[in-house]
Symmetry: C2
Subunit: 200 residues, 2 copies
Amino acid sequence: MTRYPKEHKAEIRQGIVAIAAAAMRRAGIDGARVSDIMRKAGLTHGGFYVHFTSKDDLVAEACAAGVVDARASLVDVARDAAPRDRVQACLDAYLTRQRRDAAGCTLATLAGEIARQPLHVRKRFTEELAESLEALAPLMPALDEERRLDQVLALVSSMVGAMLLSRAVADRKLSDRILDVSRRTVGGAVEWASGAGSRI
Amino acid sequence: MTRYPKEHKAEIRQGIVAIAAAAMRRAGIDGARVSDIMRKAGLTHGGFYVHFTSKDDLVAEACAAGVVDARASLVDVARDAAPRDRVQACLDAYLTRQRRDAAGCTLATLAGEIARQPLHVRKRFTEELAESLEALAPLMPALDEERRLDQVLALVSSMVGAMLLSRAVADRKLSDRILDVSRRTVGGAVEWASGAGSRI
DNA sequence: TGTACATCAGTGAACGCGCGTTCACTGATGTAC
DNA sequence: TGTACATCAGTGAACGCGCGTTCACTGATGTAC
């Protein structure tokens, strides 16, 4: 319709990506329909192909955007805490009933589907995930760099697993307990990842 | 075609469920097509509705069957190990490259989708999962019953998260490292779940 | 013992629906003369 | 300064395909007489 300045197209595209990321968290990759996403963006489905070559193209962007969202909130939480409390701060911020009952997190809700996506989607996701891990690593308490990356991997894996299971389970008590237990215990794994607990 | 003894129908149904569980692990719930599953069972798609009222019906059964498979292998592994080594034995048996590169495990590959399934599917899944956790709990090292269940929850959540992420990631090195780190460190979380590591 | 009928797992063509994608078109703005 | 044309984000009807589901039919077996 109206002719806009050059940045406008990029902004619209960004908006579609953000809406898609949320829709995918809620309904899954297949369940997030192009027409619904475009309607939520205030457009009609035909205009989609002005911004993306295919749904796959959008999926790759939206997965990446979802990871970026998750990263931003975790990094903020960790940075605001004292070095020794950062792991626990992440656990407390992430493993909440609110996050479980809301859309959740891209990692927990979509990782299973991403594993089955075309390679370029998985690569885009992996890039962004790797960058997130690198952003979190310096905030971990271990003394050397490699150990800090180990700590992040242990932390993130465990958080994601707990969120995933607590969302799948149709039993409030069990679901709550999964979150609570992991919130209390994952710190132990992260501590071991610093080398302290290595038994062998 | 041929008229079979009464048990035959039940056997065919079981076969379809097993084939569906494997297909779902590989292709996801939506990706596992009724016609493909029936073909693999040696039948045509029309006969499906002699055994199930809908695909949902099959999905519920197949999710449950997938959890039962996972439970059986973990319980066997744990029981064959000395009490103190059971947690590590589960980690070593589960977090393998082979399992990652093969279909994986129902929990890691399907939990994200299960969270979006109709309630009766989620309930069926939850029943079977709860039973699995109860079957594993007595094999955990903590002294009291509640703590043992906590240990199982911590163990399973972390294993599932690590498997999920290692499957999603399109970078061999990172994927391997996720498995390796969790194999080494999740024991720390499980130990804390026994009450030993509680700092507060 | 032989014949007619009921049963029921299984067949495969056909249906309907939803979703991604295409395409001819619109209309507001920028640009050339 | 005014007019004709190019551009291009966006529209919405239509297409094609795949998948779950239905349904009239098959044919082997069990059962009643």
